[in-house]
């Protein structure tokens, strides 16, 4: 847990390390993994469903959730709703990935979850930078505490 001390004093790039990615399509999971690990240098945990996310979240303690919206079983919205109830993840940045490019859907996601939204297909080359930009926007500089 010495890492937690470092966490607060390090630069953005160093404070933002772990992403929990939920996506039911294995091919997209693979591409996202390559993009985030090989290009972005993140530590990634991937889940195929909302239920898996809820099981793994506490142990993995991610800095960001990257959530597919439409998944069989528990979908992205419902998983985030449940994650938000836990004190650990009440403030953790959430980025939804959706294949629906409807303005209404996007606005609704942003509003309800204070989340960012990336539409599919995403560009795996620029995805890490996009997430870093979102993360620094959503995480205010820690002040004292």
């Amino acid at each position: 847990m010495g890492e937690v001390v470092d966490f607060k004093v390090h630069m953005t790039a160093q404070r933002f390390k772990k992403i929990l990615h939920a996506e039911d399509d294995p091919d997209i999971r693979e591409i996202a993994r390559m993009s985030l690990e090989m290009i972005g240098g993140f530590e990634i945990l991937q889940c195929a469903s909302g239920e898996e996310v809820l099981k793994a979240a506490n142990d993995f303690a991610p800095d960001m959730f990257l959530m597919d919206v439409m998944m069989p079983g528990m979908d992205g919205r419902e998983s985030v709703r449940q994650l938000r109830q836990s004190a650990n993840f009440a403030e953790t940045p959430v980025v939804f990935v959706t294949a629906k490019a409807s303005n209404v859907d996007v606005d609704q996601l942003k509003e309800e979850f204070e989340a960012a939204v990336i539409t599919k297909p995403f560009d795996p080359i620029t995805l890490p930078d996009q997430l870093k930009e979102i993360w620094s926007r959503m995480t205010p500089e820690p002040a004292g505490s």
């Binding site: 091919d27 996202a32 390559m34 290009i39 294949a99 599919k120 297909p121």
Partner: protein
């Protein structure tokens, strides 16, 4: 008559005998010894004559009295008839030319005119009827001595249409010809409108929609057609005693609100709203109508739209499924190719690289096609969402140039913009207008010769702002104009190898621009180039000009 004749003959006989006797006596033709009895006879005759004269006189005065009595009763009868006719009908008399001579009280009362005002004016003028044909027919008939019967449409003093069932009777006198014409009229406006109402009711019964006629003052249901009765499951004879409060909510509530409105909605507009009746989704169209006698009613027509809603929901689901299902594999394909070309999986041979570029380009193209088809189907279904806001078109053009610059550079084309110093305010959906701009710019770049320029300009044009995008490409033949904005039409697509597009771009551009109350078109000269332009309405006023307007006003 016979008795007076008898009296006449008896009297004449007596007079004759008396006269003869008087003559004999006078001429002394009567023997003297008979003179005494003769005098007796003589006197008796005179007495008879006097008696007879008295009887005749009395008889004569009785006849006179009887005659007088008869005449009086005839006059009373006539007066009675006239009174009865006057009570029953509206009567008007004109001369043979159609000038009004007199009108009865019924007539003036019914139409609100004053008798004095009418006298001397021409019938067809004062009644103000649009159709003068019946008056010509009346003139023809009555001048020929015939009676005319029919319905006259006239306007009352207050300008309301009245229908008079009329009989026009000409009066002729020997030697004088056609003297005058008498019009006997009855106001049948109500019966006629009743007839129309019955016809209307029959039509309404045939409609598959539910129809209600509600009196706005009392809230009473005046009419329901069979379809409405079936939905309510109300017995036919009873609904007339029901008020609108018996209608189930939320439809009933909407109707009661309408009845309770302080200032009723303008009768000329139709209200349309979605509601529910016994759990069935309905679309209601409500029209307020005013009857001839000023009662306010409204007609509500309800259409069952549950099937339509279902179909729409199915379509929406299908669209969103399609979006998802098409984009998911594309994400993988494009992502995989992008990772490979970026060298994420290690260095690549040049040959492999060029093949990957082909895959990448076509993945891009397929994605464009998917997006365009989705946009188009949304536009056609009226389901495209527009988030309208106020913006400076110059900034939007800059953004579009920035986003298209890479593509243009790849084709060896430069994008150059000429826009004014002052802002160009428009109201629109930023994303969609950007789509219009990038689409027209990439089109222009696509059709430009390598090394040439695409010029973009924006300027106020009357109430509109005109944005023009000019290329120095091959131009568009006039023959291609007609279909250019239709799906999958691309002028010159077949003879330029590198030109690839979905063929939907211009169709979408047109639909988006028109949704902004704008217009898109082009001018082109073969071999010289093409200018596509679109006009958008200027935003009412910019803050600055509004301020100066206020200054002017002050």
């Amino acid at each position: 008559m016979k008795s007076s004749l008898r009296v006449f003959w008896v009297l004449s006989g007596a007079l004759f005998v008396t006269a003869a006797m008087s003559i004999f006596t006078f001429l002394n033709l009567v023997p003297a010894d008979h003179s005494g009895s003769l005098w007796m006879i003589y006197a008796a005759h005179w007495a008879l004559i006097i008696g007879l004269l008295v009887v005749a006189f009395r008889r004569g005065s009785e006849t006179m009295r009887l005659r007088e009595h008869l005449l009086k009763s005839q006059q009373a009868e006539l007066a009675f008839r006239e009174k009865a006719i006057n009570e029953h009908a509206m009567i008007l008399t004109t001369d043979s030319e159609g000038k009004i001579l007199s009108v009865n009280e019924n007539f003036t009362n019914a139409l609100g005119f004053r008798a004095n005002g009418l006298r001397g004016s021409e019938l067809r003028h004062f009644l103000g009827a649009a159709d003068s044909a019946p008056y010509e027919a009346i003139a023809r008939q009555t001048n020929g001595g015939d009676v005319w019967s029919g319905d006259l449409e006239v306007l009352s003093a207050s300008g309301k249409l009245r229908i008079l069932r009329t009989t026009a009777v000409p009066l002729f006198s020997t030697g004088m010809g056609h003297l005058k014409t008498m019009y006997f009229c009855n106001d049948v406006t109500k019966q006629r409108s009743g007839e129309q109402e019955r016809q209307l009711t029959r039509c309404l019964q045939l409609l598959p929609e539910d129809v209600y006629l509600v009196d706005m003052d009392s809230g009473k249901i005046l009419f329901m057609n069979d379809a409405a009765l079936r939905r309510m499951r109300w017995p036919e004879g009873e609904y007339r005693t029901y008020g609108a409060d018996r209608l189930p909510d939320p439809f009933g509530a909407a109707i009661r609100d309408l009845c309770a409105q302080e200032a009723p909605t303008d009768a000329s507009e139709t209200l349309q709203f979605l509601t529910e009746c016994h759990g069935v989704a309905m679309e209601a169209n409500v029209q307020i109508i005013e009857t001839v006698d000023g009662q306010k009613r409204f007609v509500a027509v309800l259409r069952d739209i549950s099937q339509r809603m279902e179909a729409e929901a199915t379509r929406r689901n299908f669209m969103s499924m399609m979006t998802h299902e098409l984009r998911t594999p594309l994400t993988s394909i494009k992502g995989a190719v992008q990772l490979l070309t970026a060298g994420t999986a290690g260095p690549l041979e040049p040959g492999v690289m060029s093949l990957l570029r082909i895959a990448e380009n076509n993945g891009e193209r397929l994605l464009g096609l998917v997006n365009d088809i989705l946009d188009l189907s949304k536009l056609e279904a009226g389901k495209m969402e527009f988030t309208m806001g106020r913006m400076d078109l110059r900034a939007l053009i800059d953004e579009a140039i920035e986003s298209d610059a890479g593509y243009a550079t790849g084709l060896g084309v430069t994008l150059r913009c000429k826009s004014p110093e002052t802002p160009l305010w428009v109201t629109g959906d930023k994303g969609r207008l950007l789509q219009v701009l990038t689409n027209l710019m990439s089109n222009a770049a696509k059709f430009s010769e390598t090394g040439s320029q695409v010029e973009i300009s924006a300027r106020p044009n009357g109430d509109m702002i005109r944005v023009a995008i000019s290329d120095r490409g091959p131009g568009i033949p006039e023959a291609a104009r007609a279909g250019l904005f239709e799906p999958f039409k691309q002028a010159g697509a077949q003879d330029k190898g590198r030109i690839k597009g979905t063929g939907l771009g211009l169709t979408i551009v047109k639909a988006i621009v028109e949704h902004h109350d704008g217009r898109v078109d082009f001018v082109s000269e073969l071999g010289k180039g093409t200018t596509f332009y679109f006009d958008l309405p200027q935003c009412a006023q910019s803050t600055k000009t509004r301020q100066s307007a206020l200054d002017h006003a002050a």
